[in-house]
Structure formats: C-alpha cells, structure tokens
C-alpha cells in the first residue's frame, strides 16, 4: 500500500531521461527527491501523474496502476509556476477545485481558509498578475491541495520563497502529514530535506543513486565525521596530520573531519585534550546529506559521464 515506481525508462529522442528508475514511497511519509538539474526529477513526477507515459515500467498506488487511480488522488505543484494572469485568485482556485470534482461552495470555503492560513486573504479578489511571485506560488500551492489529495507531488516548492513563507509552507507540510497525506517533493536545499523528510532518493542522470530512510542513506557509505571545536585553537592545524583523519571543512563554529574506519573517533578527543585545549564541541556524526550527495553524484559524474547526454529542452 504505497507508491511504487518500478523500473521506469523514458527517452526523449536520443536522450534517456529516466533509466530503470525504481522507488518506493511509504504512505504518510514525506519523501525528498534530490538531484542535479536534468537528473529526471520532473519527468519522474510527470510520469507518476500520468501526464507522460513511460516507455517501460509501471507506477502503482495502493496496488492500482496509476492510469486507473482517480485523478483527484494526486495534487501537483509544477516547477513552472503559472496561473491565469487576468483571473481573480479566488475564481481560479474555485475553477481548479471544480475540475478536481469539488462542489463550488466547498471549493470556495477551502480556498478562503487556505488563503487565510497563508496570510493573503485580502488577495482573494485580486487578479493573479497583481500578486508578487511568492504570493502567486502560495496560491498555486493552494490550487494543488484544495481537493485534499492523498498524494502531493511538488517540484521545487521552496524555490523563490522568503524565510517567513518557507516557514509557513513547512508548517503546512507537517499538517498535511499529520492528516495522513503522502508528500513527495524535489529540492536542492539539503537542510530542508534533513528537516522534513523521512526518506529520500538521489537521482543522477536518470538513475537512482541511492534511496531509503534519510538516516540509512547517511550511514550507508560507512563514513564517520567528527566535529570538533577547541576554544583557544580555532585553526586546529594538527588535526589534518593525524593518521586516518581528513579535514573537510574549517568553520567558525567547528571543524569537520572524516575519520577512517580503523580509527576510533574517541582517540581524536583524547588527542585534543592531551594538547591541553579547552574542547567546546565534540560530535561523532554520519556525513550530512550534502556530503553524501556530492560524494555519490560526483563519483558517478566521473565514472559514467557518457551514460546520458544532457540535452536542452528536456528538463528532468
């Protein structure tokens, strides 16, 4: 009873947009889709929504092929934002609600409620072209969820929003999840993924590089990180020359280093104390998603450069 994508392949002429992609999104989860531009995220979402048909492979939701799943199961926030420029905000929300099978009165009520929640109730009577980009984006988000879909697919939902609106949107995400909805979204913002997502998939050039619960993805590489800060020694020059330790980042807050498998991270703390420093921060952690991403996507970038030529006009 989940969203299952099984070995989907999609070509656009010579370009392989998706190459045997398989994914599983558990219901009620928040699922993050990571990938560079052109990795195939948008194509995958369009195929799930049955806007595009795959060359091979199937998509199933609760066991049903997606071609037979009722349309109102899905809510979609496309990457390319667009509203009817000259139509009033409330009118178009009601219109989209009706298309999804809502009664006009219900669509109206829901739309006004969401506009209120997103702090733009005054814009209900304005034409879409009179709204700022961020506010248009919020209206579009409302259009995507107005009919209370079970699965919400969002392409870069946070792009172009200011911090206040990002917070409002995250709040809405969490509420939808509490209502038992399944949320899938793509993004470049790793912190957001780590904050919101239970599971992720990293896509690169049409292939799934890694997928699973965030914790497992981070631990899967077997790398361990040590984060260390010493009060009177901000540079920590000695750290990089320790055997089995490789400094990745010098920061104002702490210095981050990767520790080889055969070295016990605790010995690094001992070494710091031996040197007489006042340790203010010591942490053993899995690599961040960003590090996993750069490692995974970067590695494949080197070894399989010729896999799928990137072409203009086909955005993944």
């Amino acid at each position: 009873m989940s969203l299952e994508i099984e070995s989907i392949t999609k070509r656009f002429g010579e370009v392989v947009a998706l190459d045997g992609v398989s994914l599983r999104v558990e219901p009620g989860q928040v699922f993050g889709f990571l990938g560079a531009n052109g990795a195939g995220k948008t194509t995958a979402m369009r195929i799930v929504l049955d806007i595009l048909r795959p060359d091979t492979g199937t998509v199933r939701w609760e066991g049903l092929p997606n071609t037979e799943v009722p349309r109102r199961t899905w809510g979609y926030l496309p990457e390319e934002r667009g509203l009817y420029a000259r139509m009033k905000v409330l009118d178009q929300l009601v219109f989209f609600g009706e298309l999804q099978g809502l009664r006009p009165a219900a669509a109206r009520r829901e739309a006004l409620e969401w506009l209120e929640r997103f702090r733009i109730p005054d814009y209900a009577g304005r034409r879409a072209e009179q709204l700022s980009k961020g506010n248009q984006q919020k209206v579009q988000f409302i259009a995507a969820i107005l009919h209370d879909p079970d699965v919400l697919l969002m392409d870069e939902p946070f792009t172009g929003l200011d911090p206040v609106n990002v917070a409002l949107l995250k709040e809405a995400f969490l509420e939808l999840r509490q209502r038992g909805k399944t949320l899938v979204f793509s993004t470049h913002q790793m912190e957001t993924v780590e904050e919101l997502c239970e599971s992720i998939a990293i896509l690169d050039r049409g292939r799934v590089v890694v997928t699973g619960p965030v914790r497992e993805v981070r631990a899967a590489g077997g790398r361990r990180m040590v984060r260390l800060a010493v009060a009177d020694d901000p540079e920590l020059d000695w750290l990089d020359s320790e055997p089995g330790v490789h400094v990745i980042r010098h920061g104002q807050d702490y210095t981050e280093a990767e520790v080889a498998r055969d070295r016990d991270p605790a010995t690094i703390l001992a070494e710091a104390l031996r040197r007489g420093g006042r340790v203010t921060h010591f942490e053993i952690a899995d690599p961040s998603l960003e590090q996993v991403f750069i490692e995974r996507v970067g590695a494949i970038d080197r070894s399989e450069r010729t896999l799928a030529p990137r072409a203009a006009g086909v955005e993944g």
């Binding site: 048909r53 071609t67 009817y84 139509m87 219109f95 989209f96 298309l99 995507a144 006009g313």
Partner: protein, 472 residues
C-alpha cells in the same frame, strides 16, 4: 483513451471559464461594440447618402412655348419625370429635379452659362419636312435622332446644360422626353387605346423541367427559372454567407489558438493537465471560445439587422414617401438559413480544433500566426473556390470539391444557394464533415497532449508527431 468516457463535467467547466474570461475582457467588449456600431452605421449608409445628396437638386427650366407644342406639355413632362408610370420609380427623382417654366430661351441660356440655372430644356415641333426650328438646333444627338433633322411633325428636344457635372441627370430627362414624344405620337396617329393595350400585352411563356418531373427528387423542382434580379440577389446573398463563415473561421479559430498558446506560455497548462484530460481541455476550449465568438457575432448581426429594419422607417421619416429601399439579397429561405447555421457551426468546430492543435505547438503567442498559417491557407482556398463557384455553379469541379470537409462549408452552401442539390448530397456532406471533426478531435488531442509539454524552440511537426505517438 479514458478521456472519451469522462468529457463532462470538466469540459463544461473549462468552456464556462473560457467563455466568461473572453466575454468579460476589455478587448472583447471594445471590439464587439465598435464593430456593432460600424454595422449599424453601414445599415444606415443609404439613408445618409440620400440625405446628403438631397440638397443637390438640378434646376431645369423648360421652354415649351414654341409653335405646335401642346399646351399641357409641362404637366405631361412633370408626370413622366416624377410619375410612377415612367422612370419615376427611381427613388428621389422629385428631390433631384426642380422644374420651372422659361419664357425666354436666350435669357435662360445665359442663366445656364452663369450657373444660376442648371439646365434648360427647349421643346419644339419639327415641320412637315422634318426641319428643326432654330431654337432647338445645335448640340449633339442623343438616342439616335439627329438634332438638325427630325421625323416630320415630331416633337424635338434640346437640352442645354453643363453635362460634365450633371451627366446622370440627362438620362432622366431623356426618358421623360421619350415618354412625352410617344404620347404625342399616339395622339397624332389616332391609335385606338384598346389596340394599344393589346400591343403591350405580355407574352405567354411557360416553363417545365422534364428532368425534375421524371425523378421527382430534384431540389430545384419545376420552379420557373430565376429572374435576373433574383439571380443577382442570390449571388449577393451567397457571397455574404460565404464571407461570414470565412471571417468566423479565421477570427475565432485564431482566438482558440491564442488561448491555447497563452495557457502554455503562462504554464498554467501543467496544473490543468493534472486536473483535466487533453480531450476535456480541447473540447472545453473550442466550445467556450466558439460561444464567445458567436456571442460577439450575434451582437454584430443584431445591430446590423436592427439597423436595416430601422433604416426603412427612418428613411420614410426623414426623406418622405417613395424612399423605401429593399435589401438586394435574395434566396435566404428558412432552409438555407438552417443549412448555413449547420455549416457555420461544423466548419468552425473543424477548423477550431486544428487551430487548437496549432496553438499547442508554439510556446509564445507571437508564434501563433506562423503556426496557424497552413490552416489559414486551406480556409482561403475554400473561400476563393466558393467565390469562383459563384460565377458558374455548374462547373464540373464544384460538386466533387463541395464534399471535401475543409471546403464544404463554403462550396456546399454556394451550391445550395445557386445550384440544385439533392437532399442526399447534403446528408452525405454533413456526415463526412462530422466524421472528419471526430477524427480532428482525436488527432488534435494527441498533438495537444504532446505539444503542451514541449517548451523552448519552435517545435516542428515531425517532432510533435513523434511525441504524439508516445503521449497518453
């Protein structure tokens, strides 16, 4: 395709949105009002022109005091020039002429030269030898009779005027002069009035179409051949109907294409695609835009119609009696109007669907013209074929071409108006048209669902067709 099953209600919602947005738009209101006003103005044009030309009367002085000229000449001339029996039929004659009696030819001629008088008509009687009195000599002959010598005893007319500026008026006066002369001849020859009636009695001439009677099915039946006037009226009527369809197809077809391209360029399309099928979108768009177009169309026709009805009354009020002018269009029977309605709607549907497909192939509204050019061409071919067919509806190429769905709205309509068409031909033609529309709907839906997702550079037809094959 699952879309066939679930056309409603989404197609209706889309059509309603399309209609309301279009009809409430400022450009729609502006263009409708201005064209409606123009139609109203055109309907009133004849009255206005008559009103304006009313002031320009031709003042003619008549000298009828020569020897042998009947005393009642002025009265007869007045009657022939303005009465119903002669050229007086033409409206406004009385307003074009003003007659007065001249007593002195030399003085009157001087007045014509100085412009105080527009014309002088001198009436004399030729002598028994055919000699023309001096007052009527000089000038060029009009209508075959010489100015220097005339039929003995006949009336002779001499018209003095600056004919370069009053050319048309001469012919009215000439007609009146002929009537005057022939009345004079009838009197002089002592012709029995009863014999005269017999002489002018109409000839019996009947008409029967054996072909039509034998088959019993001919649309033309055994109606008498149409009069010249009727034929001209029908040609005019056909031209009007064909032009109306042409304008609708081009104008409102382009609206559909623009509306599709707008949705695509504003990227609303992506949201729409999750909520509705391409077939629902396509149908809704064509119906909604079509209804908006027909609304505008009706408003304009209504304004023109009201104008035509009113203009008769207004003409009566402003210009006085005898000013009624009828519409010179003939053949617009109820059957023809129903056929026109049918071809109008079906023709629009066929072209609009393809226009929608064309609109889905471009990413920007500016490219719509270019993408829809082939459709424009096809429509033009149909239109021109119809205008040629009007010249000779029996030409061998007309009938076969009138079954081609893209030309049928033009050519079949022309044939219905001008030629003879069997009912089965109309039925077959309509059936072909409907089947083609269904095929166009299917094709357009595929092109549409493939086209709307392709952005960026202008998309070639080959690429569209390739994408259409893999689209849902």
């Amino acid at each position: 395709m699952s879309g066939w099953r679930t056309l409603l209600p989404n197609a209706a919602y889309i059509a309603r949105r399309e209609y309301l947005v279009r009809v409430r738009g400022r450009s729609f209101v502006l263009s409708t009002v201005s064209v409606a006003l123009l139609a109203l103005a055109l309907a009133f044009a004849p009255v206005v022109i008559q009103l304006l030309s009313q002031g320009a009367r031709t003042h003619v002085a008549v000298y009828a005091r020569g020897a042998g000229v009947p005393a009642d000449t002025m009265a007869v001339l007045d009657r022939s020039l303005f009465g119903a029996s002669s050229v007086g039929d033409s409206p406004g004659t009385r307003r074009q002429f003003e007659l007065s009696t001249a007593t002195d030819t030399a003085a009157a001629e001087a007045d014509v030269r100085s412009g105080r008088l527009d014309a002088l008509l001198v009436i004399c009687r030729a002598g028994a030898d055919g000699a023309v009195p001096a007052a009527c000599r000089g000038g060029d002959a009009v209508g075959g009779t010489g100015a220097e010598a005339a039929t003995p005893g006949d009336l002779v007319f001499a018209y003095r005027a600056d004919t370069t500026s009053n050319g048309r008026q001469v012919y009215f006066v000439l007609q009146a002069a002929r009537a005057l002369a022939s009345e004079d001849r009838v009197a002089r020859l002592h012709i029995d009035p009863a014999a005269l009636v017999q002489l002018q009695a109409p000839v019996a001439f009947s008409f029967l179409n054996p072909k039509a009677d034998a088959g019993g099915q001919g649309a033309a039946g055994s109606q008498p051949p149409r009069s010249d006037e009727e034929e001209v009226g029908r040609i005019l009527g056909t031209t009007v109907l064909v032009v109306l369809i042409f304008v609708v197809v081009i104008t409102y077809g382009t609206w559909v294409a623009m509306s599709v391209a707008e949705e695509k360029s504003s990227r609303v399309m992506e949201l729409m695609l999750t909520a509705a099928t391409p077939l629902q979108m396509l149908t809704g768009k064509v119906v909604g835009t079509g209804l908006a177009g027909f609304t505008q169309y009706l408003a304009i026709l209504l304004a023109g119609g009201v104008g035509l009805v009113l203009q008769g009354r207004v003409a009566h009020l402003v210009l006085g009696e005898g000013s009624a002018s009828s519409l010179p269009v003939a053949g617009l029977t109820l059957g023809i109007l129903i056929a026109f309605g049918g071809f109008f709607v079906l023709g629009f549907a066929l072209y609009a669907l393809l226009y929608a497909a064309a609109g889905s192939m471009v990413s920007r509204q500016e490219d719509v013209q270019q993408a829809s050019m082939p459709l424009m061409m096809v429509s033009m071919v149909g239109y021109f074929a119809a205008t040629f067919a009007i010249q000779g509806i029996a030409a061998p190429w007309v009938a076969p071409l009138s079954f081609v769905p893209f030309f049928a709205p033009y050519l079949m309509l022309a044939r219905l108006m001008l030629g003879s068409v069997a009912p089965w031909e109309v039925a077959v033609c309509l059936a072909i048209l409907v089947v083609t529309i269904v095929a166009a709907l299917w094709l357009a839906a595929r092109i549409y669902s493939a086209g709307v997702l392709l952005y960026g550079q202008r998309v070639g037809l080959r690429r569209i067709l390739a994408a259409a094959r893999t689209a849902r």
